[in-house]
Symmetry: C2
Subunit: 169 residues, 2 copies
């Protein structure tokens, strides 16, 4: 028995597939770049960042976090030939609203001792200052020995209130 | 001096922002679900999976990998109230094309000893069998003590050749 969410996926996907004409696209991104951005529901990277199908890798996680994205970025660059990274965090991010100890307290309350143990020591990677978090992540990627020095890296903030993106670094 | 990629972001985003009308959306996803899928350039989750702006968290990484997504999923469920996960891998995935030792050899060749050391022991999470990888990841999430037992989890394959999605588990 499909849930409403699963039924929505099947129905909307059937409509998408019925007019799909892009089966010829190749595995490596045509425009050779990768975007790291947040999982936030209010962001549609293809539309908001102007990414045509087949053009770029899109990596998304809680906060648009660079450390979390490292495995994917190494694969993107070294195995699939991308040479530029756009790191885009956003206003109103959930990561601005809590601290690690808050998250661990919620884990303890909801998952008990077993969950607490499973996630013991996890850095949820919240941040108190948006622009500084963008700068820090770009700095981290530029300093990382896992990222070739030839890769161009820039940092941005997307405004969920206006749909606008602004360059930070 | 903006790169072509950065200039494209600015130009396309200015067009997007000029007709943007969704600044009222709230932080928690309206439909309370999270999608885990691949960073692959040939996937547009909003269009292909029928996700309206504001409805769902979208987590993307190399392979649509559940382990990599765990931090984001815990934040999505425990802090932002989602209660269903769609895990969607895809045909033609880059993760089907290499083994860990291949990736580490490429790292050594391109990044030298410093890069090799930085990524020493990293599991790049490639997989040889697509449907089995979907099953394994769903099994992993269902067994994880970091994911509440009340969360509904299903696994799917998206076909980059046809635009169709098929349920695996």
């Amino acid at each position: 028995m499909a849930t409403q969410i699963q039924a929505n996926l099947k129905k909307k996907n059937a409509e998408y597939a019925s007019i799909f004409k892009e089966g010829h696209l190749t595995l490596p991104p045509a425009k050779k770049y990768a975007v790291v951005t947040c999982m936030d529901a209010r962001i549609d990277p293809a539309a908001a960042y102007g990414i045509d199908l087949g053009d770029a890798h899109v990596i998304r996680n809680a906060g648009g976090n660079a450390r979390d994205a490292l495995r994917s970025l190494v694969i993107s660059e070294l195995l699939l030939g991308t040479n530029e990274i756009l790191l885009i965090k956003h206003t109103g991010c959930g990561m601005l609203t809590f601290k690690n100890e808050d998250a661990h307290a919620v884990v303890e309350k909801n998952l008990g001792a077993a969950g607490q143990q499973e996630l013991s020591g996890l850095d949820f990677q919240p941040f108190p200052d948006l622009e500084k978090a963008v700068e820090d992540d770009v700095k981290y990627l530029k300093a990382s020995k896992a990222i070739p020095g030839s890769i161009t890296i820039s940092g941005w903030v997307y405004e969920v209130e206006t749909g606008k993106v602004n360059q930070v670094v």
